[in-house]
């Protein structure tokens, strides 16, 4: 393991890769700040650039973009109350009131410090957890993998859209269906290509990710006549206030940060949960821990209320790399896009990544830590300048986002049919978003589709066509059991609510 860490260190500390971390954090911060454009779009926009890189550099860049995007999201949450990322919605609860009271600088400094600590604790836990899990995962069979992937998809559906689980599951199935377009990987026959040569290779994941995230998010802002840039111009032209945080304040928030780091990491490891849930959980937990006097401050500019979600979302981002790197199963939309990128570099994530590409494995973990340092020492002072870019008028920014999304996909395939397909998928994504179908499960289903089919084929072939593989091994049975519980949990809640409503009705 020490050898691996040293390999990772030497890979991560090459000038090229150090630059990647810096560029990634910077670009991520900028994209993450733009309301509507989240980390998935940020990463997707970066993929075409990284095609020529070696896998370690590519992943390092994207990990930097991921962190940067979350941090950028916090910045726009605090400054203009417009979270760029769902994971930073909870940040705005106390961050924006602080900014209104003239403490924007302090709020940003606390956000950066809390993110840094959360990310650091997360990276240390990842260092410990990932190799151990990778070791265990080597004994997994195809049935277990199938079960894990189905669990991942179900959990993402259950968590991304509470109350809309059916819609999220439908989106997942749509993603899986899109993944079957093209040449069948095992038999080599064409499926759903309608005789078109353009579809023989299937739909590229980059195309789908760009169309359903970057393009549709940019177009949704036009559709909803989003006028954020004026608010941004106002916020960024004003003074941010001092960035100093007093010693008492640090002492006050330190235990919050410690608790939220650990909570965030473990929530991040769970498939489907991720940064958004981690940040809300941490916020809720801290509010219930707080004294009666402190509780009143929550929502009105409490430093604890700001530190908790900021710490947790970064720790969760790190945690979400555990299933990606060790099992090859992404637990969130963002890590799903990263998985797609890794596969396109020719790297197969999973327990063998640890053995076959130790440089990639360790370099990513180490550069995550580097990314956190860079965010703290370089990005924080640059925030006032990056924020000024936010004031770039929407009518200039949107066509540029459209252009970079389209050309990014074109530069990979050199096929103009892809541009038409993107327009089609973007329109479909807009309609689905308006109908409240979440997009993250769709992209996750799409990316896992091939792997699910492959593992299903193996499991079915091994068990001679019988579905007994579902319960033959205790591990498989347990994972499927958890999947069913995840699906039933929302139902139980609905039934309980109905019953209590009925009881209340009878009592009254």
């Amino acid at each position: 393991m020490l050898e691996g860490i040293l390999t990772g260190l030497s890979t991560a500390f090459t000038p090229m890769n150090l630059m990647m971390v810096f560029v990634g954090c910077f670009a991520g911060t900028f994209i993450g700040m733009l309301p509507g454009l989240g980390p998935i779009s940020a990463i997707a926009l970066m993929i075409p650039i990284t095609y020529g890189f070696d896998p370690a550099s590519g992943m390092i860049l994207m990990a930097g973009v991921y962190y940067g995007a979350i941090f950028g999201g916090s910045t726009s949450s605090i400054l203009i109350n417009a979270p760029g990322v769902a994971g930073t919605v909870a940040t705005a609860f106390d961050g924006y009131p602080l900014a209104q009271q003239g403490h924007a600088g302090k709020a940003l400094a606390i956000a950066a410090g809390a993110s840094f600590t959360g990310g650091t604790v997360g990276a240390i836990l990842l260092l410990a957890a990932a190799p151990a899990l990778a070791h265990v995962a080597l004994s997994f069979q195809s049935a277990d993998y199938l079960a894990l992937m189905v669990l991942g998809l179900t959990a993402v559906s259950a968590f991304t859209a509470p109350g809309q689980v059916l819609k999220a599951l439908i989106a997942t199935v749509m993603g899986l269906m899109i993944s079957t377009v093209g040449t069948d990987p095992s038999a080599g026959v064409q499926r759903f290509t309608f005789g078109s040569l353009n579809l023989v290779d299937g739909v590229s994941f980059l195309l789908l990710a760009m169309a359903t995230f970057a393009l549709s998010e940019a177009l949704m802002a036009v559709l909803k006549r989003d006028k954020h840039s004026e608010a941004a111009a106002r916020a960024t032209s004003g003074q941010l206030g001092s960035m100093r945080v007093s010693r008492e304040e640090i002492r006050d928030i330190a235990p919050v940060v410690a608790r939220s780091s650990i909570l965030g990491f473990f929530v991040g490891v769970l498939p489907g949960a991720g940064a958004t849930i981690a940040s809300f959980l941490a916020y809720g937990a801290e509010r219930s821990f707080a004294s009666a006097a402190e509780k009143l401050k929550f929502g009105k500019g409490s430093l604890r209320g700001l530190a908790a979600p900021e710490t947790a979302n970064n720790a969760a981002c790190t945690g979400s790399f555990v299933p990606l790197l060790t099992l090859g199963i992404p637990g969130s939309g963002t890590t799903a896009v990263m998985l797609g990128a890794l596969i396109s570099y020719g790297v197969q994530p999973g327990p063998r990544l640890f053995q076959n590409n130790p440089d990639v494995f360790w370099a990513v973990i180490i550069s995550m830590y580097l990314g956190n340092i860079i965010l703290l020492i370089l990005n924080l002072p640059l925030i006032p300048y990056i924020a000024r870019l936010l004031a770039l008028p929407r009518q200039i920014l949107t066509p540029l986002i459209l252009f970079f999304s389209l050309i990014g996909v074109y530069l990979v395939s050199f096929n103009t049919f892809d541009i038409h397909m993107m327009a089609g998928f973007a329109l479909a994504a807009i309609v689905l978003r308006l109908l409240e179908f979440p997009m993250a499960p769709l992209i996750l289903g799409f990316i896992l589709g091939d792997m699910i089919e492959d593992n299903l084929r193996r499991a079915l072939t091994i068990s001679d066509g019988s579905i007994a593989f579902l319960w033959e091994r205790p591990l498989t049975a347990i994972i499927f059991g958890v999947t069913i519980l995840t699906l039933l949990a929302p139902l139980v809640r609905v039934v309980r609510q109905r019953r209590s409503a009925m009881l209340a009705g009878e009592g009254g």
Binding site: G52, V173, T180, V222, I396, P399, D418, A423
Partner: protein, 157 residues
Amino acid sequence: MTLNRDLVAALGFLAFSIAYGWQATGIDMFPGQEGEAFTPQTFPLALAIVGGLLALGQTVKSLREPPLAGEAWASYDWPRVGLLLLSMVAYGATFTWLGFIVSTTLFLVAGYLILGERRPLVIGMASVVLTVAFWALMTKVLGLYLAPGELFRGWLW
């Protein structure tokens, strides 16, 4: 009566699943493969069934609890989004013929105009200059090939 959008979406997906499943039964197989435990049809057919069941579930759900009235779709800026989507289609259609520089410049200018930018200098800088800079970066620095334009073949080179 307001239209129950969730119901329409659910029925739409039901129809889609049925069409998908019907298409899946037509996927080619090698002779003798029909009896195997897993064929190229297995996974798509399974998906069609799961999709159909989910769509039915959503249909029942949206009949029992109609969604709260959301924002009116009519209030959205559909014309602009439609024009932007059309300009994307046109960009794809003209790319090979006009070449990267001309088609990209036109696409960006169209985008700025659609979104209400009217200052000629801004439009010019953010389209021509940007396109040429991007083209130079891609072709001269990174060595990528970008379509020069079939239309100009013969009289420009």
